[in-house]
Symmetry: C2
Subunit: 192 residues, 2 copies
């Protein structure tokens, strides 16, 4: 950031009065710019024991498989955003079951929230950001070509919980260490 | 937003190519500015059946009672932010139990996430953003001078779950309608 987006003057990077971390501050109008992590939300979509995956038609990770998900927009709730992303990326209308998983991704300043859902009707097709949309059985999941570590952790939990006959609310952090992604579960598991 | 914070030129507000909603775009360098909801996270702090509340020393809602909570910062996880806010506002060190509640607040473009926690030791005092910090029994909670509708909903769920002898992960939306705040629970309750 180089210029104040309100008045166009230069900004400096320093700790504002009564704050404890540096922000961009306008040298003319004193506007302070706060930058915060963003929420990515989407759905794990079930249909007759299968899970809907989308092959990405955009970078990053063009050609890799993902769950329908994206950034929550101004004015939306996380549920509305998850439904919209599922409609945009997979042309799929779903019924939300519950919020299943919240994972922090501090290496990209994102918090990832995934809802469990079911297809409202057996209809889906690639949206503009997808090359292909497909229902996968557990034994068919393309583990080696999943787009992001979050997708892997979500699917691992999902199939483990499914085998156990009940779904627990899952949380954790994915930390990038020495160019590897390490998953740290918790804290806490509700219902256990 | 009037000026590009990268190059200082003017911005226009229009739908970018391959997007479906208007953004501020620089007329010179084509930078696109995305604005998204923010996460507020904090703790419900327990100690021997009581709950820690902070009397706000800042606007909005100066002098009203709240849970220690605030915006997650760049580089943090939600757990780290909740611990930091609890330390800053109440000089309290806590042990996190689990993520208890996620509420959407689309009227202020925030998502509110509250962790259950316990005081690690019986020590607390007002931080710079608090006038007073106090442990409250359920029957002492100052319901009429709570700072925000989220605090009320969190405490209502907390004491209801406590009476039932188990805590369930809670979600919902608070919608502002005709200047009133209406709480819509769900979807889903894990473990039920």
């Amino acid at each position: 950031m180089n210029f104040c987006s309100q008045c166009g003057a230069e900004v400096i990077f320093k700790v504002p009065a009564e704050d404890n971390r540096p922000r961009h501050i306008c040298i003319r109008c004193d506007a302070i710019y706060y930058v915060n992590p963003k929420i990515v939300t989407g759905c794990i979509v079930e249909w007759e024991g299968k899970i809907l995956l989308c092959k990405r038609a955009i970078e990053p990770r063009y050609g890799f498989w993902t769950l329908p998900a994206g950034f929550i927009e101004i004015g939306e709730t996380t549920v509305q955003a998850a439904l919209r992303e599922t409609l945009e990326e997979a042309n799929a209308t779903v019924d939300i079951i519950d919020l299943y998983l919240v994972i922090n991704l501090p290496y990209v300043d994102q918090v990832y929230m995934i809802y469990r859902s079911r297809l409202a009707k057996m209809e889906f097709s690639p949206g503009s950001e997808s090359l292909e949309v497909k229902l996968y059985k557990e034994e068919e999941i393309p583990w080696d070509t999943l787009a992001f570590p979050t997708i892997r952790e979500t699917l691992l939990y999902y199939f483990r919980d499914k085998a156990d006959g009940r779904f627990l609310f899952r949380t954790g952090d994915i930390i990038k260490e020495n160019n590897q992604f390490i998953f740290h579960p918790g804290p806490g598991v509700m219902g256990v």
